[in-house]
Amino acid sequence: MATSSASMTTNSRWSDWRVRHQASLDETRYNTRVFFKDKLAVVGLVIILLTIIMAVFAPYIAPYPAQGQGESNLHARFEAPNAQHWMGTDNQGRDILSRIIYGARIPLIISFTVTAVIVIIGVPLGGIAGYYGGRIDEVVMRITDVFLAFPSLILAITFVAFLGPSIRNVMIAIVVSWWPWYTRLVRGVAVSLRERPYVEAARTMGVHNLLVIWRHILPNALGPVIVQMTLDIGTVILAAAALSFIGLGAQPPTAEWGLMISEGKDYILQQWWIGTFAGLAIFILVLAFNFVGDGLRDVLDPRSKR
């Protein structure tokens, strides 16, 4: 008897929750349908999931795990794609397919971490600047002006040049040069909302300002921020690969796509496969994030057309 009454309470609690959230549940269902109607977005999502699986299970998928992690294999240098090495071997005889599979790890880790940190810094700052307005807003916006005056990759390159080449420094550099974009984005939303009746009502009722920002401003900025994040993950992958390409990021013998292109650069006219496949991998993954970002934009931020 006791169990049945307990299950009844949970059940009624669940149905209660459903009644209260029916509208947002319907919306989610509708949004999901809109997103999955965009074929390119679905293709992008599949590619991203496959890449994540590839990165996580690299030791089990890669045909030559040791070479994927950097062990050289000098008696098989410069082999063109063949049955043993589907994508050929590089100047140290390492299997390129294995290195591409291992190479998926760094871009994914860098881009997800960096984007998360940028959002954590940029979003609250934008919310505060836009909501409070006045002097705080002026100061924050002038600071973002200065940071945005540098093309972000230049700022990143300069930072890494002084900090010294490494993946960690690449991540710091990208964060430093990128956060103002989110501050701008969220500030715009906050400015447009701060005079709305429900926000003013919350304020007059004595709700703490930071709580008002958290409850009423940030949720409304969520859509544009998620869309921007998805598109930026792709851009961050490109930026990190570019820094590795000029020797400022991942260091040999790490498998990283940008570095692999750089290693293949000098052989490109004869042993074309060394640099080509790594670049193709970057291209496809970034393309996938862009397609998903576009699809999400149609769902979450319908006002901005693409």
């Binding site: 002006d145 200065v146 002084f162 292109i261 650069k265 670049g279 393309l287």
Partner: protein, 340 residues
Amino acid sequence: MTIWAYVVRRIALAFLVLFGVATITFLMVRIVPSDPAAVYVGSNARPAQIAQARRILGLDKPLYVQYAIYMKNLVKGDWGDSLRTKRPVLQDILHFFPMSLELIISALIVAAIFGIVFGVATAHRKGKWIDHVMRIFSTGGVAIPAFWLALMLQIVFFRVLHLLPVAGPSDILVAQAHPITSVTGMPVIDALLTGNWPAFTDSVRHLILPMLCLAAYPMGVIMRMTRSSMLEAMGNDYIRMARAMGVPPRTLLYKDALKNAFGPVLTVIGLTFAYSLTGTFFVELIFAWPGLGQYATTSVLSTDYPAIMGVTIMVATAYVLVNLVVDLAQALLDPRIALS
């Protein structure tokens, strides 16, 4: 606010930003762990030599004095000497910049022409197959790593098709037989100005691949922007009214809608200029193009910090100026911007 008040405010803001740029660049060198004096004397120096270098570079003075000296020199045009080339940094930069500028400007012109034409075409045929193909195309332009595209272009146009030179700004034999007299520092323009036809065709042939490479990203962005602002403009009541009254679609598309779509497109062209400034770093590296990008990457790899600072300030200045021009042009096109 009248339009002139806006112009003055916008210019003042640009100066404020440049001041901030110089300050951040200064701070960046001071807060990082590496010691500029140690870099200056090289890796095998004795402590006494480092101390001496510190005095020469003025690093023994308090930070605010260093900052004041740095700002004064910057304004005077004394940007320090490059540790690597031993020449004044500003002189180096002014020597290499025109080469990059030629690349960037030609790339942006190509990107703007094709981006706008394709953007209009896809907006006109929204949802048709050409729209989908072009979406893949424009997203591809944004997603492709420029340094990889460079290598692919080299394979296709040099190795396979034997159509274009693989790298460099000119052919050695042509350069020796028909040397270009430097006027602006941009070879194509200079050859044109001096009527040096063999050098002109040679320079153009060498320009094509790096230019295409640099144009891919801006073209993708401009195309998307043109398409979306065209669609927005086409949805306006007055356009629908005009269509209902029988104004031919072609006139509507190119005269009325495009005029309205031009503002946002102009902004995007300004923004992609920033991309091109950095994109040229990688493109120049691969195409052995003796411009600012190659100067910058070699400086970065040898921790030539006066040169790195100089390039950073130069690039930021160019970017701020371009955005200023774009903003002012937009305010003149659409006075509502100045008023808001």
